[in-house]
Symmetry: C2
Subunit: 314 residues, 2 copies
């Protein structure tokens, strides 16, 4: 089960209804915080998530609305006696800021803490384990900014339960079949072609997060065909000039980008506080992207995704 | 009319119900923000207060829960094109932190910004105008910490309207009478003693803010007999050992201090998040301080005070 929470769906000036950007992704036993606007620790508590469980923090860029929540979050981690290691991926200019605020408190005396500086030259793998990979890729904003992609790895093929019960292959054989091998049954002298006893594994889940950026098309294979994509939609099309000058996107552009990347579902957010009715974002985007696959983000939006359930049974 | 708002009534680890410490005092056309925990700009908006109107920010000490909201607040002031001057009173160690976060943006290119370092040697007048004075005084916490007192100045004496109508004194004479002079009426050759034609002005309002501190008694005349006093009450008496070791106060101690300073009304707050029922703070304090003069702070508490209305009419 994968769970995505939108903690803050607002933009540069937060309010009680829409906090500044922050999202939380639970995937394969790991917990990833993406951006950390002011009040993120309050929202984590509000939506029943523990600040002590976060494994990775990805900060897209150093505009205040995307990282000012780090101070309070880290401070509370220290107060609560966190011992779990934490890795922060962000622009290197964050290092002196954190050092200045926390002095020697992040030197490792408290919890193991790693800082990884983002680079902006194409797509980069930030981390991986045997279940998923995390990538960054450069966006086009007024300060160095990255988008992020979190991709499950392709799982082994699904083997037929009926076949296993009937022919009782060894564990080694099962492993080989799951990797695509055929099977020869010694008792019956029968050869089973792999495609007859397995089916494709579930489609790996992938999530792409495009924070603040001007409209731009991308050709990175790693971010194509995501199950969900979040794209900032600060303005509507009537303010496309302002969007361009401030290097933000309109709802139309967000939908175009989602289409271009063949995303299945588009989550829109980062709405400018000047818009009272976010339905207008849905209306505008739905002219380009299928309306029943558009989600208007709000604080507390939770998306649960179970690709096992969605996969065919054999 | 004087208005006090509690924006955040919580303590070190904020939550959606109780944000970190921040209060807002409207007095004689000036707006004073006292402490600025994470999310203060959200609370200001929530309770209908403009972040652009703040004249002074007083930061009691540099524990994160008392100043991490400054980053977002100042950032929004910059985004909204603030031009009104701002003065921040805080520990000098805040200067490099703000410089680091805002780089050259606070150099005066944007809005006139003044930083005043607090000192910790007795009571100090931070600022005054013809209506009120602001003082700081040292508290006893684990980092240099100040409490604050905002005191209205004594107004001129109230002169009888009936007397003015009947004897038509000159403007100069009225000014002298309001300062305490007697009046000789040339026409009737009658001498009016000051006490017969004036009454005392309304009692000047004063507010004292005691943020994080161990229990300690104070002998500063400037903080005695406040109309309202806020005193941190992080713990109940059953945790007096923890309170002592962490240099915080219990509800009992807050009530003792309020009594000692002859405060009229005690506002209690900064409750540790571990307490679910803040009624217990009221119960404990009411054994020492009159229960109908105790106010349990909550986010959004607003106290309006009109000392003209309270004053006797002549």
């Amino acid at each position: 089960m994968i769970e995505l929470y939108v903690l803050g769906s607002g933009s540069s000036i937060p309010n009680f209804k829409r906090f500044s950007p922050a999202q939380y992704l639970k995937i394969e036993g790991k917990n990833i915080l993406i951006d950390c606007g002011e009040g993120t620790q309050i929202q984590l508590q509000r939506f029943g998530l523990s600040i002590l469980n976060i494994d990775y923090i990805l900060i897209s860029h150093l505009h205040g609305d995307h990282f000012f929540g780090l101070f309070g979050l880290i401070s509370s981690m220290l107060l609560l006696g966190r011992i779990k290691p934490l890795t922060i991926y962000a622009n290197e200019n964050l290092i002196p800021i954190l050092d200045n605020v926390f002095q020697d408190k992040l030197s490792g005396t408290y919890f193991p803490y790693t800082f990884v500086s983002l680079s902006y030259d194409g797509i980069n793998k930030l981390t991986e384990n045997n279940k998923f990979e995390v990538y960054s890729f450069p966006l086009d904003h007024s300060t160095p900014t990255c988008g992020f992609a979190i991709k499950e790895k392709l799982r082994p093929r699904n083997i037929s339960k009926k076949f296993v019960e009937q022919y009782n292959p060894s564990i080694e054989d099962i492993k080989a079949i799951k990797q695509g091998a055929d099977y020869f049954d010694k008792n019956t002298k029968k050869l089973f072609k792999n495609e007859d006893i397995t089916i494709d594994p579930p489609q790996p889940f992938s999530y792409v997060y495009c924070s603040d950026s001007a409209f731009k098309l991308y050709d990175f294979e790693e971010i194509k065909r995501p199950e969900y994509i979040f794209i900032e939609s600060t303005f509507l099309n009537d303010k496309s000039d302002i969007a361009r000058s401030k290097k933000h996107m309109t709802a139309t552009q967000a939908a175009q980008l989602a289409n271009n990347l063949n995303a299945k579902n588009l989550i829109m957010g980062h709405f400018s506080a000047e818009y009272r009715d976010t339905c207008l974002f849905l209306l505008e985007a739905s002219k380009i992207f299928p309306v029943d696959h558009i989600i208007i983000a709000y604080d507390g939006l939770k998306i649960s995704y179970d690709n096992y359930k969605k996969a065919k049974k054999i």
